[in-house]
């Protein structure tokens, strides 16, 4: 009896001791890790898959590497409001530790003032630079080739269309813009709305204006225009781009009510067959639409070529979403360690969430057919999309968005659009870009 009691007491002491020891080891491991709290400022909301990719990586880092690592996320989902607040942070000199920022004058100026981490050098130091897709990095590089931004993901934008309508009217997916406009005319004649567009979002209108100069010359036109080196009418293809949007608007090829339609409502309208064609990314396809793709009900086609210039190979806008930058002032050893962890796990967690990775490594498993089909196209892309809504000086960015919306409603004609763009650049770009230099 006594022996049993002694044994029980010894066992209890042993267990208690082991628990205490384990606790001590755990506490000492936790104590060994540096305390780090970071602030993240983002345009992504919970509706964006890459928001969850970030969330997964942050939690994984906390669980696997540093339990003393913590973060807070400030989300501003509206694009314009997001940019306005970012500018407020810049003016206040109080930048978050990690933040999204477009590749344009804002990021160039911050980098020149030494306020951003040189991402290119960091990626080379961790031997990951060449693992990134060339098109993705191209989208993020500044004019001088330097890289201060890193990708949110790999995104493509395509035209989607309802095959039943195309088949019914004897149409084929257009390869040139003339064919595209003809398709719209035929669809309209048959009583359907040709294009679903998010007319409330200025970037959607600007896409139509910028498609033609982009497929023929990448960023050549916008990079010359933004400083006033050329006038709008000096580029024949750019003029065609302006005329294209006006043609689509004045012939009423956009769906009813598009003027006040946001991006999500636009995709819903297309999903409900309210219009035959729409322009958005494959990541935004719902499961129901992915199934419709597999059943052959909807299809996609890349950005059409300019007639007579069909040989150009650049016709799938690939970008990295709104880019990310890191505050140089808060880039200490711990933040550097987190960034390396992020880069080395980005592909794994992107694939786990069913989205493309900006790195050319590994192969996704269990991707829906549509995502795999688009990926085949994307892997050939070496040149990134050049967006206009972040390249110009801040005033002209605002003006171009307003003009784009007016042109998409045929409230102004192409001449007014081009005159106003030239006027805004003449008034604002000179001072802005000379200051930047």
């Amino acid at each position: 009896m006594f022996t049993k009691q002694v044994n029980r007491a010894a066992m209890t002491l042993l267990l208690a001791g082991s628990i205490f020891a384990a606790g001590a080891v755990s506490v000492s491991a936790e104590e060994a890790q540096p305390e780090k709290h970071i602030k993240i400022y983002t345009n992504l909301s919970e509706a964006n898959t890459t928001y969850w990719v970030w969330d997964d990586i942050l939690h994984a880092y906390q669980d696997e590497v540093n339990p003393n690592f913590s973060w807070e996320v400030e989300v501003v989902p509206d694009h314009d409001q997001f940019l306005d607040k970012l500018k407020l942070y810049m003016a206040g000199g109080d930048m978050p530790d990690i933040y999204q920022i477009p590749n344009g004058p804002l990021s160039v100026q911050l980098s020149q003032e030494g306020k951003m981490v040189n991402i290119g050098e960091e990626l080379k130091a961790m031997d990951m630079y060449d693992t990134y897709n060339g098109g993705c990095l191209d989208f993020l590089k500044f004019d001088d080739g330097s890289l201060y931004l890193f990708p949110d993901g790999r995104f493509a934008e395509l035209f989607w269309y309802w095959k039943d309508s195309f088949d019914a009217y004897g149409l084929e997916a257009p390869k040139t813009w003339d064919e595209f406009v003809n398709c719209c005319a035929v669809i309209k004649e048959n009583g359907e709305d040709p294009i679903a567009m998010a007319g409330a979002e200025s970037w959607q209108s600007l896409r139509y204006v910028s498609f033609m100069p982009w497929v023929t010359g990448g960023g050549n036109f916008i990079n010359k225009l933004k400083t006033g080196a050329i006038a709008y009418r000096d580029d024949e293809v750019a003029v065609k781009g302006v005329n294209l949007l006006y043609t689509l608007a004045s012939n009423e090829y956009f769906m009813k009510g598009y003027e006040n339609t946001g991006y999500a409502d636009n995709i819903n309208a297309f999903a409900n067959h309210a219009a035959v064609i729409s322009y958005f990314g494959p990541n935004d396809l719902s499961e129901e639409m992915q199934a419709k793709y597999e059943n052959g009900e909807i299809g996609f086609f890349p950005v059409p070529y300019v007639d007579g210039m069909e040989d150009d190979q650049m016709n799938i806008p690939v970008h990295t979403g709104k880019a990310w930058g890191i505050n140089a002032d808060s880039y200490d050893e711990e933040l550097q360690r987190f960034f390396e962890f992020f880069v080395k796990h980005h592909t794994e967690y992107s694939y786990a969430r069913g989205v493309y990775s900006p790195l050319d490594e590994g192969s996704p498993e269990n991707f829906p057919k549509v995502m795999s089909d688009v990926l085949e196209y994307l892997q050939k892309v070496e040149k990134g999309w050049v967006s206009w809504d972040d390249k110009l000086d801040p005033t002209t960015i605002t003006t171009s968005g307003e003009l784009g919306i007016e042109l998409s409603q045929a409230l102004i004609d192409p001449d007014t659009f081009m005159d106003e763009m030239d006027y805004s650049i003449e008034e604002n770009a000179g001072a802005y870009f000379s200051e930047e230099e």
Binding site: D84, K87, A91, N260, A269, T395, I397, L411
Partner: protein
């Protein structure tokens, strides 16, 4: 009446805290904005002194300032009509109700307590075309052409739509103020008018309205100042409208300062808003004080 030392101390004791807070949150920012307005600054680099160039540009080369000013005047007139005069009419209707006054008073006051963002979301859906909103669904039944009314994106309608929503939101508040003022009209005056053979309309026009005239003027000044600085509802509903057809002065100031990153120029617009508000309020009061 002359105040003694102790009375002065009491006056200062009660007025100084409020004056101090008012100075900090109103006068200091105005002075600060005035200083910024004579500089050219993009918020990142160094500030460059430009004197009164920003003000000169505002009146000579700015294509948006004067249209924004015109829209603001129209918007303000609409607000005075909706908030003050419709509010007053509702207060009369409310005071003539024999029953359920509290119920209707609460119902009309509900929009005042709903946040502007939520209210704009509601009206955006009601006035929407894609998907078809309630307004057009009902109007379309009367006349099929009305299915397609673009309340928020037609350059001729969007300013009016925003003005309607703002007026709808606040008319309940002014209704409550007027209702309280109407309850203060002495019964003897109304009874005397009735004995003289005045109708309900006569009593309202010749007895009650003159009696609450000061309340009406004070409410007009409040609405005037609020509308000259209006921002949230027109911006949230129309995003300044296509072609800036619904752009008011305050959103224009915000656009210049924070979207275009012209903090100096935006401050010049802000100073102009202060001056315009002061001028309008002073002129308005002077006119009515003189009539008194």
């Amino acid at each position: 009446m002359k105040l003694g030392k102790h009375q002065w101390q009491t006056v200062l004791l009660f007025t100084c805290p409020a004056l101090l807070i008012y100075t900090l949150i109103v006068f200091v920012p105005i002075i600060w904005s005035s200083v910024y307005s004579i500089f050219d600054w993009n918020g990142i680099g160094s500030m460059k002194f430009v004197g009164f160039t920003n003000y000169l540009k505002l009146f000579t080369r700015d294509r948006e300032f004067l249209p924004a000013f015109r829209h603001t005047i129209i918007y303000t007139a609409a607000q005075i009509a909706l908030q003050v005069f419709v509010g007053l009419a509702l207060a009369f209707l409310l005071s003539s109700l024999p029953k359920l006054r509290t119920f209707f008073q609460t119902m009309y006051y509900v929009p005042v307590v709903i946040s502007s963002v939520a209210l704009c979301q509601i009206f955006e859906k009601l006035m929407s075309l894609q998907p078809l909103g309630l307004f057009n669904s009902i109007l379309g039944k009367i006349n099929p052409a009305w299915y397609d009314i673009k309340w928020l994106t037609d350059v001729r309608l969007c300013l009016g739509s925003a003005a309607f929503v703002e007026g709808y939101k606040y008319m309940g508040m002014y209704m409550v103020i007027f209702y309280a003022a109407l309850l203060g009209v002495p019964d003897e005056l109304v009874e005397a008018a009735k004995i003289d053979g005045a109708s309900s309309w006569d009593i309202a026009i010749h007895v009650k309205i003159p009696y609450i005239r000061n309340v009406i003027v004070a409410n007009c000044v409040l609405v005037l100042n609020g509308s000259l600085r209006a921002y949230d509802i027109p911006y949230l509903l129309t995003n300044n409208g296509p072609g800036n057809s619904a752009q008011l002065l305050a959103p224009y100031m915000y656009k210049q300062a924070f979207s275009s990153m012209k903090y100096g120029y935006g401050s010049a617009v802000a100073v102009m808003i202060v001056i315009i508000s002061l001028v309008f309020a002073t002129v308005f009061r002077r006119i009515f004080e003189r009539e008194d």
